[in-house]
Symmetry: C2
Subunit: 378 residues, 2 copies
């Protein structure tokens, strides 16, 4: 039999952030698609929509509230928050009543909406770096405000873009859910980063930045020579996974990506949180956000749907957590092979293991080949 080929043989890859495995079935990209196709989002929208509850001067969902005539970003408390600030404290079960199978805790918190721009038809993908910078500053200001509240121990900033992600309003905005607990995902990441730190005496994500830089250099060296690297079979997949980078940030399709075109934006320096970033680093983050979201839109020539989230230090005052935290952004996009074919997280994914078809290296190559000039203005 021929030797193992990462582009045609099934394998699993380890996600060190979540301590879990992902199944990769690259030969399966050849299967015909018989499932549901969604309508791609290629709509042209007005820059002001009188019926949008996020546009300046319009009425909000809650009766009687009206948006100001804002010019850059606009922050308000979510009208139907998932967590509330004022609620009674739950009595703790006595030792006799405690059942390890019925564990529960009360959770207080506050939820916010941040409009990125007064323009209804903008998205991060077609905003300029100058327009994205105030969004980053607003993230920092809100995080700093919430950090001072004793019952807020974590601030989760996330954006759902597109109807496929359950987002009902195309007006550019994100949400911020701040909670009494450190939620599951960041808590698990911190735990695994701690285990890595104890074992290797290094920050996992600092090491990962270095690993991806080396893989990129190797891929470029191979491409520069005429001989192929396939002489000795590789024990890890060949190819770069860096989609784009600047002095402060790197955007990669992570080695362990679950979503077809999932990316991870990593701070190259060890920053615990956005507010630790220098003005130059904030500018670089605006740059990398513009470039990756623009490449996403260009990939299938549509407004590319995703869930994006920022992971940074919790606001619980835990100094171990602060040292371990390494600022990064996850982009989880559901599109699979075109603007209308979606990846479903179902069946084997829910009951067995996360699974992908196209390899992370192939996905990175597709994104590398996209322009950083938006298709609408090209």
């Amino acid at each position: 039999m021929s030797s193992f080929d990462f582009t045609s043989h099934s394998h699993r890859r380890f996600n060190p952030l979540t301590n879990s495995w992902v199944l990769c079935s690259p030969h399966r990209t050849k299967r015909p698609w018989q499932g549901k196709e969604d309508e791609p989002d290629t709509k042209q929208r007005p820059s002001y929509d009188p019926s949008c509850y996020l546009c300046p001067t319009n009425s909000r969902a809650s009766a009687g509230l009206k948006n100001p005539d804002y010019k850059e970003t606009y922050v308000f408390e979510n009208d139907f928050p998932a967590v509330q600030q004022d609620q009674p404290v739950l009595a703790v079960a006595s030792q006799d009543d405690f059942n390890p199978l019925l564990q529960t805790e009360s959770i207080r918190g506050q939820c916010f909406v941040i409009c990125f721009s007064p323009k209804h038809d903008k998205t991060l993908a077609d905003m300029s770096e100058t327009e994205i910078l105030p969004v980053i500053q607003t993230w920092i200001d809100l995080y700093n405000d919430l950090q001072s509240k004793p019952h807020i121990n974590h601030v989760q900033i996330f954006e759902n873009k597109g109807e496929m992600m359950g987002c009902s309003n195309p007006h550019p905005h994100c949400q911020v859910w701040s909670t009494e607990d450190v939620p599951e995902e960041p808590a698990v990441e911190l735990k695994n980063m701690q285990v890595y730190q104890e074992k290797h005496h290094r920050c996992m994500l600092c090491d990962y930045v270095e690993t991806e830089t080396k893989a990129d250099q190797k891929a470029k060296a191979v491409a520069a020579t005429t001989s192929s690297s396939s002489a000795t079979p590789s024990t890890t997949p060949d190819g770069s996974r860096i989609v784009c980078e600047n002095d402060s940030f790197m955007c990669v399709v992570p080695f362990w990506a679950t979503w077809p075109f999932e990316t991870l934006v990593l701070s190259k320096q060890h920053l615990a949180r956005l507010s630790d970033a220098t003005p130059a680093q904030r500018q670089d983050l605006a740059n990398i956000i513009r470039r990756i979201t623009c490449r996403y839109d260009n990939l299938f020539k549509c407004s590319f749907p995703y869930s994006m989230g920022i992971h940074q230090a919790p606001t619980n005052g835990n100094t171990d957590h602060e040292k371990l935290s390494h600022l990064h952004l996850h982009f989880y996009p559901p599109l699979l092979r075109s603007a209308s074919v979606k990846k479903f997280l179902v069946g084997f994914e829910l009951l067995g293991q996360a699974q992908r078809d196209i390899t992370p290296e192939q996905a990175a190559k597709r994104l590398m080949d996209c322009s950083e000039v938006h298709y609408k203005s090209a």
Copy 2:
């Protein structure tokens, strides 16, 4: 302030099977729905569809293959499998090459499709127990066949029902993915069941059957008296979570359910696998499957979408795993508040923590109130 109320205050609940927390925001059920609505599946289908690649005597997706004129169930190998039986083995990285951030392993396996019935228009929800019994027998036979193969260490049986779950063909069928590894989800469950076993010297799911039986008895006792139980504030939510049961199986909305109407079917006896079930227990499983799927269809008067999967002992010959395994079925349905409003696992769910609005006790009550006679034949 009034005392804590599990039906209106935010709390989180612990899932002992996955060792993770779920956020429950019951007050949020009042928010208006502005998102996408899907077309509910209320179509009337023919009992034979000449264009269906699963109907008896029809051509399959792969060129040249034809289905037999089967009368009960029909098993064949998936034409586009996620794992393959024949592929080269991946060389293991040398000590020098090993990078903890680039871990990968090759995975062999085999994938199958099982048609539940020759009738194109049937689903488990409107099949009789007599018709479901051969499906259970087919699951057992295939598991037993695969158990004898040395490179197959786990057999995952799962059903995706409905277009919402990415299922392209309404013909009643499930899939079986058998793999060299024990996939992430069952591996994590086994690990957490082992930790529980070591700590409490009992099987976690045997204990959970007992816990839910007691909660059900308490709820019935409270309902029988005129006084309310709200005099002393409870440290765990009141109410039964048992939707239906028989001598051998119990169907509950688990205390830690993520999906709005998620259910867990538990064997009341400690069975490691389906093939250990007596004929009476197999009959009881057919009974409980018919009853819960029928209640699901009746809930919103539609063909109710879900992903269902069976967790049982791996086929890796690990005697610890065999002792720990406790047969159970997970039903993960995406419908939220009607036949057309879907729950999206996005944003905070992907980046923070799983989150639900309606409480598990409220969901159980809704399902308890449904008939076990299918609405189409009522």
